[in-house]
């Protein structure tokens, strides 16, 4: 053990040298710039071949790019309020950010994952996890909007999430930070006694609604990443662990002592049997499900007060541990479902386990020990091979359709291409700088599209014009259609992408909606024609039922509002043409704008504090008379007797 540890440390030091050397690199990377330019050129008016969904990391959002051009198509607000779209500001979307802790305006969005059918991305949904206050969001790809967010109880850092099974039977959420379960006030140094982990399995019903089917209670390790089995390993979910030392302080040292940590293999089909047998325990807790309804254009929160928990000691065969060196980060299953790659981030080598060998070892009950009722398989029994890459700090692996794997190495700042089965290194390409995640369209599915690889780098330094101390992170696009990887393009990204998903554009674009049919709008405060526009007072609550159509609001003159009123502007956009949103904003409102899509209703809340006449206007340049699309609201003193009135064109 000791010499091995020493070697690792030495390699680590060498790696740091390599890494610091990168800052001075003058190599631009691309070998043949003119042919690279041709490969990423998508002519004006033409569409990209792939959609790429890059997580926003600490921006809390999800960015959508086209590939190969790397043009930014949209930023979808998910876990963070977004003034641009009024997300989390208008009354309709505020509930999306509700939690059992109240309204939370931000989270750290890590891993996008496309829904799958038969192991292939089907273009219906993208899921993404919120790491800080554990949550999973669902984005509907017919509208590219967040339509559901579920909170994960008994979790403390939802990192190994939201990886999905072959038919999106489940989306998982494993905890990165173990916590007392149920939460309680205990000494932090009682970690080993009181802290536990939970692996959560979120099911989707026929309408695509998420709810937690069950959790598996596991030892208090850090559950880092996950991927489901596919093909023959369908029915299993794999999670990496680190901190099997169960340390609670100075983890950079104390959680890096064990030579091997584990990959946890959960047999979720077995879990379903135990659930049917009534083996699950109801743990009292509290978590919220926030659902956005596309017909009412409104989100509502549902509270759940208990969750079903399976305890491995009582459920033999539910979960096994596969020893894996060394604090493995990503766990990636090849398209055949046979190989389970453990990216040991503090080592030089990649460890690949065999699913068949794992099943054989389980059948032979060849265990080297047990933790809390979880059998530990023998490393020698399950390992299929080792990729001796010569790189340092492997993090993530994706696959192409030709039986090749591509692994990122953070410390040595490169992507290494290797052959699945022979473990032979075929090619390596430097990244600028310190690559974290990578994405190949369909690269974690049964049928990768291949063709391109996006490396998401953690360090930018000199790659673009400087923008002060804070810079966008940098991604790099490689052509992987040949034997050698070819760097095509650098492009800055939003926030910090921790993972991405790519899908052929044709699978998604035909389903993209252009408008919301106004006749299907069931918002409680919708009005479908200008004639119904009105202002209604109930005590100090004033509701303005307003419409927008090029190029006026109805009503656009409103009087009789008083200081201290609670004013709700319910704006229905009567437009039914593609790309005709209208916005509205009010001077002095402690709020963002509304940005209302055709056929949609949204509500701006405003408490006027001073008497006066307040202009409001359309914020989205809608038409030739956009600048004229404006109105006034007269606010009178509290005791005033100005009559409530409204009009347009009078």
């Amino acid at each position: 053990m000791k010499p091995r540890l020493l070697t690792s440390c030495l390699l680590f030091v060498v790696g740091l040298f390599i890494y610091s050397g990168c800052g001075n690199a003058t190599n631009q990377g691309a070998l043949n710039t003119s042919s690279a330019a041709e490969k990423v050129y998508v002519a004006p008016g033409e569409h990209d071949e792939f959609y790429a969904f890059l997580s926003g990391g600490f921006s809390g959002q999800l960015s959508v790019y086209g590939l190969p051009s790397a043009r930014l198509l949209k930023i979808i607000p998910v876990f963070a309020v977004d003034g641009e779209k009024g997300y989390g500001f208008n009354e309709e979307t505020k509930p999306m950010l509700n939690s059992s802790y109240g309204f939370i305006p931000w989270d750290d969005a890590h891993h996008p994952e496309l829904s799958q059918t038969n192991g292939v991305p089907d273009g219906r949904y993208v899921f993404i996890n919120g790491n800080n206050t554990p949550r999973v969001a669902k984005i509907d790809l017919s509208v590219f909007e967040t339509t559901e967010i579920i909170e994960i109880p008994n979790s403390g850092g939802n990192h190994s999430s939201p990886f999905t099974t072959e038919n999106s039977e489940y989306v998982v959420a494993g905890t990165r930070f173990s916590v007392p379960i149920p939460q309680e006030d205990v000494a932090i140094d009682s970690y080993k006694d009181n802290f536990k982990g939970a692996l959560t399995f979120i099911g989707l019903d026929d309408e695509g609604h998420m709810d937690i089917n069950f959790q598996v209670l596991v030892p208090g390790y850090d559950y880092d990443l996950a991927h489901s089995g596919k093909g023959k390993s369908h029915g299993w979910m794999f999670f990496t662990t680190y901190n099997t030392e169960e340390s609670h302080t100075l983890k950079e040292v104390n959680a890096s002592q064990n030579d091997k940590d584990f990959i946890a293999a959960v047999n979720w089909k077995k879990a379903e049997e135990y659930l049917a047998e009534g083996k699950a325990k109801d743990f009292p807790t509290s978590y919220l499900i926030n659902r956005y309804d596309e017909t009412t254009h409104t989100a509502t929160s549902i509270t759940r007060n208990s969750v079903k928990v399976l305890i491995p000691e009582e459920c033999p065969g539910l979960i096994y541990y596969l020893p894996t060196p060394k604090s493995p980060h990503g766990v990636d299953v090849d398209p055949t479902g046979e190989y389970i790659v453990g990216n040991g981030k503090l080592s030089a080598d990649l460890t690949v386990h065999s699913f068949d060998k794992m099943i054989a070892a389980i059948e032979n009950e060849s265990f080297e020990g047990e933790v809390d009722g979880i059998p530990i398989l023998k490393f020698e029994d399950v390992v299929a091979g080792t990729v001796a890459s010569g790189g340092l700090g492997p993090l993530h692996t994706e696959f192409d359709a030709e039986g090749n794997a591509y692994t990122t190495f953070f410390i040595s700042s490169e992507v290494v291409k290797w052959k699945v089965g022979t473990w032979e290194v075929l090619d390596r390409a430097p990244c600028y700088y310190s690559v974290g995640h990578l994405m190949i369209p369909g690269g974690d599915s049964r049928q990768p599209w291949g063709k391109y690889l996006v490396a998401m780098n953690k360090i930018t330094k000199d790659r673009y014009l400087p923008t002060g101390p804070e810079m966008n992170h940098s991604a790099q696009l490689f052509d992987i259609s040949g034997d050698k990887m070819e760097l095509l393009l650098d492009f800055p990204t939003v926030g910090e992408p921790h993972y991405a998903q790519g899908i052929a554009a044709d699978v998604v674009k035909a389903n993209s909606k252009k408008i919301y049919p106004i006749n299907e709008n069931e918002h409680p405060h919708v009005i479908r024609q200008e004639a119904d526009a009105r202002v209604v007072r109930e005590g100090d609550v004033v509701r303005i039922y307003m419409t927008s159509i090029r190029s006026h609001f109805t009503p656009d003159n409103i009087e009789g509002i008083k200081v201290g009123d609670k004013v709700y502007i319910h704006l229905t956009n009567l437009e039914q043409d593609w790309d005709t949103p209208h916005g509205v904003s009010v001077l002095g409102a402690n709020n963002a704008e509304l940005l209302v899509m055709p056929g949609q209703t949204e509500t701006l809340y405003w408490e006027p504090t001073k008497p006066g006449v307040y202009p409001f206007y359309c914020t989205d340049f809608c038409s030739a008379l956009h600048q004229e699309m404006q109105g006034y609201i007269r606010v009178s003193g509290r005791g005033s007797n100005v009559e409530l009135s409204w009009s347009v064109g009078e």
Partner: protein
């Protein structure tokens, strides 16, 4: 002649005419379809969208409910079909011709009526229109293409219009063919009937 009469029924299935507006912002065009009994568009919202565009230059809203022709045209077409069927059984060349001529007159009146509506929409502009271009009228062409500010308007017959034309030609053809047939009948007095002629007559 029977086919000519039945072709008219297709006017209930296909629009007579189409006007397509194309502009840089509308790369795929916005198409309006004029039927004998309704005005439709590419989607159920097209008319609203065209009206929104038209209101900038002060054109009246196109509201199918306010166009009386759309309520009585179906009866005229129905009546002409009925008369055509009767005519086809009458087996009289002169009746064929008369029916055809009536149809031409009605079609001509219809086109003239269409022109008047176009003229009215294009010229009868609101004095408070936000965009006023001196000397500009927005009458789409009866047939062909024309630039109306940023929009190129293409006005052409649609399937229904073609079937109407087919119907007219059908009646004239029946008339002309009848003429030949009569000739053939006369020569029959001197010669034996050929199978070919027999087939033609049927």
């Amino acid at each position: 002649m029977l086919l000519a009469a039945l072709a008219l029924l297709l006017l209930f299935v296909f629009p007579l005419w189409s006007i397509t507006l194309t502009a840089p912002q509308y790369p795929h065009g916005v198409s309006m379809y004029i039927w004998i009994n309704q005005i439709t568009g590419d989607t159920e919202f097209t008319l609203q969208n065209i009206n929104i565009l038209n209101h900038y230059v002060g054109m009246k809203y196109i509201e199918p409910d306010s166009i009386p022709e759309l309520t009585y045209f179906p009866y005229i077409v129905g009546a002409m079909t009925g008369l055509g069927l009767i005519a086809s059984f009458a087996r009289s060349r002169k009746v064929y011709l008369a029916w055809g001529i009536v149809l031409v007159i009605l079609g001509g009146l219809g086109i003239y009526d269409f022109y008047l509506w176009e003229y009215d929409y294009g010229h009868n502009l609101s004095p408070t229109a936000p965009i006023k271009v001196p000397g500009m009228a927005y009458q789409p062409p009866l047939l062909g293409s024309k630039m109306l500010l940023n929009f190129k308007a293409d006005s052409y017959p649609h399937w229904g219009g073609l079937f109407l034309a087919l119907s007219i030609f059908g009646s004239f053809w029946a008339f002309l063919k009848g003429k030949k047939k009569n000739k053939a009948a006369r020569s029959e007095a001197f010669r034996t009937t050929t199978t070919e002629n027999h087939l033609q007559a049927s």
